[in-house]
Structures are given as structure tokens and as C-alpha cells.
């Protein structure tokens, strides 16, 4: 596995290509989260905080198992618990590990105005570089999964790095390593898709006829994928979006408008200039005469 490859594929707010000549080794990596194996133990949450030297607040219980209640600058991953009865009388406790999906077409990167604050490595990891982050929160508007959080401590955006520091030296992310049941696995994306296929076959044999891989095409596929027992209803899993994509508004804003509007402003200046040199200034003759 070319896990170590941290060559850059794309950088936020950078108009020229990033150094791109190296081949991608064994290809991009992926983390596969098999929800059918997840017991919601939160080991991944703890390992994530421990490895990344984060400590969220000791909160309160509001009547659910979800703690911390939501992603924060200190909690880059949280478990989301859903009690559902897909079939009448058959309770299922679906527990989804939420966190950055590391989209192949990352909306955060697209929205970010600060050069190099968000970087996509050629292995697929989308990483925030807080030293370049200006705290504008545009990444939040860009993300189809509602992941980035602005810290109240330093007004910078934080999210899962897929443990780029570990992956960079050839280790798996902390959450992957710790996962007691093997619900989280990590490897090349090709291998992970293959692994998922095996899991889906097993789930189908156990009666989950709609078991499927969640690797949404709307964001170009993701480098964090799920195996869902109910692949036809991702929304059962604490509102996992069925067909996520970068909001058309963000695409509009960070797409055509950006160059067009800039061009428009430039043209306006040019128009003025050429008007001046062709039509000349508007001078008042009477006044000139009287001068």
C-alpha cells in the first residue's frame, strides 16, 4: 500500500497545479466503516482524541447515548445512535461513526479562500492545515456532510485528518487500529471495496437484501466509506445524505462566478480606461473659456 504517499493532489485557493508528476503508487487509500459490525463502543472517539491530543468538554446526558452530542473542534468523530424498526417488531440499533468522509471532490477545499489551508493528498486524504486557516468558515458551507467545526479557542477549522501523521509514516489511523470488532478497516480503496463486497454478500445471506456500499458518486466517491445494512435508506443512519453533493450554491459561488465576476470587475476598469482614451474627459467649455 502506498499509504505513505502524501504527495499533493490539490490545495485550496491555489490556481496553479500542485506538484503532480509522481504516480499514485498503489492508488488512493480508504477507511471502510462496516456499520453491521459496529457496537458503538466509542473506542474510535477515544483513540482519536488521545492520538490527536484533543479533550472535549465533559458534557451532560440529554437522554441519549451520543456523547459528545456533536462533532466539535475537539471531537473529530462521534457515534450517532439510531433506534429503528425497519421491519415491524424487529428493532435495530444502527450506530454510525460520523466524521470527515474525505471526498474525492471535497467541497471544503473548493470553498476555502485561504491558499493551502486545505490540502488533498494524492492518496485521497483531505487535510486541514490550521496554520493557514483564517477561520472564515467557508469550508462549512462547502461540506455536504456538515463536518468541519470552527474552534472557539483559536477560530480555526478542525476535522478528522485521517491521521495523516500516522498514515504518513505507514501506520493506520488511530480509530482503525483501535476498533475492537474490526468494524473499521483501512487500506487501498480498491481493497476496501473488495472487502466491502464480501461483507455485503454476508449481510445479504443474513437477510439484509439491500446491503450496500456507501461511496457516493456526487462527491466523486469518498475515502471513508460505509457498509450499510440498509443501503437503500442511508437516511436511517442519523440522516446520512442519500445523494450528497456540493451544494449548487457553493458550486455557483466558487465555480463560474469567481472568475466571471473578477473578469467583470477587470472589464469595468478597462472599459473606463478605454472610454477615457477614446471619448476623453467631459470638460465644461464655458469654464475653460472663463479660465
Amino acid at each position: 500500500m502506498a499509504l505513505q504517499s502524501l504527495d499533493i493532489k490539490a490545495r485550496s485557493a491555489t490556481t496553479t497545479p500542485s506538484p503532480n508528476v509522481r504516480i499514485e503508487g498503489a492508488g488512493p487509500v480508504a477507511k471502510l466503516i462496516d456499520i453491521s459490525k459496529c457496537i458503538g463502543c466509542k473506542a474510535c472517539q477515544v483513540a482519536c482524541m488521545e492520538w490527536n491530543d484533543l479533550r472535549d468538554e465533559v458534557g451532560t446526558n440529554v437522554g441519549v447515548y451520543d456523547n459528545p452530542r456533536d462533532l466539535t473542534d475537539q471531537s473529530w468523530t462521534v457515534m450517532r445512535f439510531s433506534e429503528v424498526e425497519v421491519e415491524q417488531g424487529r428493532l435495530e440499533w444502527l450506530i454510525r461513526k460520523d466524521g470527515c468522509m474525505h471526498c474525492a471532490d471535497p467541497g471544503c477545499l473548493k470553498a476555502c479562500p485561504s491558499p493551502g489551508a486545505i490540502v488533498q493528498y494524492s492518496n485521497g486524504i483531505v487535510d486541514f492545515h490550521e496554520e493557514n486557516c483564517i477561520g472564515c468558515g467557508y469550508c462549512i458551507t462547502g461540506c455536504p456532510f456538515n463536518i468541519p467545526r470552527i474552534s472557539k479557542k483559536d477560530n480555526k477549522a478542525y476535522k478528522c485528518t485521517l491521521c495523516s501523521d500516522r498514515v504518513g509514516v505507514g501506520l493506520e489511523p488511530a480509530c482503525v487500529k483501535t476498533c475492537p470488532t474490526g468494524a473499521i478497516v483501512f487500506g487501498s480503496k480498491v481493497d476496501m471495496i473488495h472487502h466491502a463486497e464480501g461483507r455485503i454478500t454476508d449481510l445479504k445471506e443474513r437477510g439484509y437484501s439491500n446491503a450496500a456500499l456507501y461511496d457516493p458518486k456526487g462527491v466523486g466517491g469518498t475515502h471513508v466509506m460505509y457498509v450499510l445494512q440498509h443501503g437503500d435508506k442511508p437516511e436511517l443512519y442519523a440522516n446520512l445524505p442519500k445523494d450528497p453533493n456540493i451544494s449548487p450554491l457553493v458550486s455557483l459561488w466558487k465555480g463560474v462566478t469567481k472568475p466571471l465576476m473578477s473578469l467583470g470587475l477587470g472589464l469595468a476598469v478597462f472599459a473606463g480606461f478605454f472610454h477615457y482614451v477614446t471619448a476623453g474627459p467631459k470638460e465644461v467649455e464655458e469654464e475653460e473659456k472663463t479660465d
Binding site: 485557493a13 491555489t14 490556481t15 479562500p113 485561504s114 491558499p115 493557514n132 486557516c133 483564517i134 477561520g135 472564515c136 468558515g137 467557508y138 462549512i140 458551507t141 456538515n146 470552527i150 472557539k152 477560530n155 451544494s247 450554491l249 457553493v250 455557483l252 459561488w253 462566478t257 469567481k258 472568475p259 465576476m261 473578477s262 467583470g264 470587475l265 469595468a268 476598469v269 473606463g272 472610454h275 477615457y276 471619448a279 476623453g280 474627459p281 467631459k282 470638460e283 465644461v284 464655458e286 469654464e287 472663463t290 479660465d291
Partner: protein, 205 residues
Amino acid sequence: MSKPIQRYTARERSNHWIVAIAFVLAGLSGLALFHPAFFFLTNLFGGGPWTRILHPFIGVVMFLFFMAMAARFWRLNHFTAADRQWMARIGDVIRNRDRGLPEIGKYNAGQKYLFWTMVVSIPLLLLSGIVVWQPWFAPYFPIWLLRIAVVVHALAAWIMILGIIVHVYAAIWVKGSVRAMTRGTVSEAWAKHHHRAWYREMTGK
């Protein structure tokens, strides 16, 4: 040499320039965050985070002073029949063929359009700006609203900047205009030529 005519009081000029300075700063800092090509402008403000911090405050200053200015000039910017005739001949105006233009008051139709453009876009900028203002207000709004706000903010800013480019150019183009906002006066000839109705009003001639 004829006596200059007072066009703007010291207060009005100060008000205008505060808005203008705020506009330049907000515009530059806004552009810096709008397109990577302009990101270098953040250096004018002490770097990216400072640009992000200052921009909304500058915007609020601009909004407040613009509102004062708008209140001041509100009545003067109602459109009249003369404005419509003037607009019909805008091509001649651009080509400096000013003969036979209708007599117009303190502001011509172009200036009025600019005024109303600002009246619409500046509050829009404020409202959309508040929605995306990190870290104070943005966390309280849903993400779909943030997404609308950033687009509205960008569009409103664009329209406003375009308007201001025209405004600045017009000031440069129409000789004798700039002093109205620097020293407060214009020449009699200037007033007579460009704003004859106003000229009559001011001089009684």
C-alpha cells in the same frame, strides 16, 4: 472667474469619505477572500486571519455611515421626468455630446441609479454578512442559509463594486467633479453644465 458653488458641506464630505474608505478596505479585504488571485491583498490587513476579523467590522462601519448618507440624500434621489429624458440620451452623455440634455437637479439619473444600487446592496451585504460572520453569528444559522448568504454577499458586493468603479470613473471623467467631494464646491460653469436645475436653484439665475 465666477464664484464657486457649495455642493457638499464638510459633514457630507466627511460622511462620504468615511464610506468610501470603508468601501475600499471592505472591498479589498473582501476580494482577498473571494478569489485566490486577490488573496495577496490579505497582506494589507496583517494576514488572512486579520483580514477575516477586520472585514466584517469595516463592513458594519460602511453600512452605518452609508445609512446616514442615504438618509441625507434620500429625497434628492427620486426620479423625475427629466431623469427619464436624460437616461434616454445616455449614449450622447457617454460620447460627451451634452448639448440639449434636459435640465437636471443635483443628481442625474446615473447618480440616482448608483444611489439606489447602494441602498439595496449595502443592507444585503450586511444581512448576508452577519449570517456568515465567524465566529459570532454564523454558528447560529443553518448551513443552507450560510450557502445562500455567501452567494448573495458575493453578488451584492460585485454589483456594488461595479457601481463604484463607474462612480469613480465618472468622477475622473467629468472634470471638475472631484473637488465637489474634496473642497465641497464646484465651479459655476460645472454646475450650469451638468446640473442646471440645481444651478438655478442655488443661484436663482
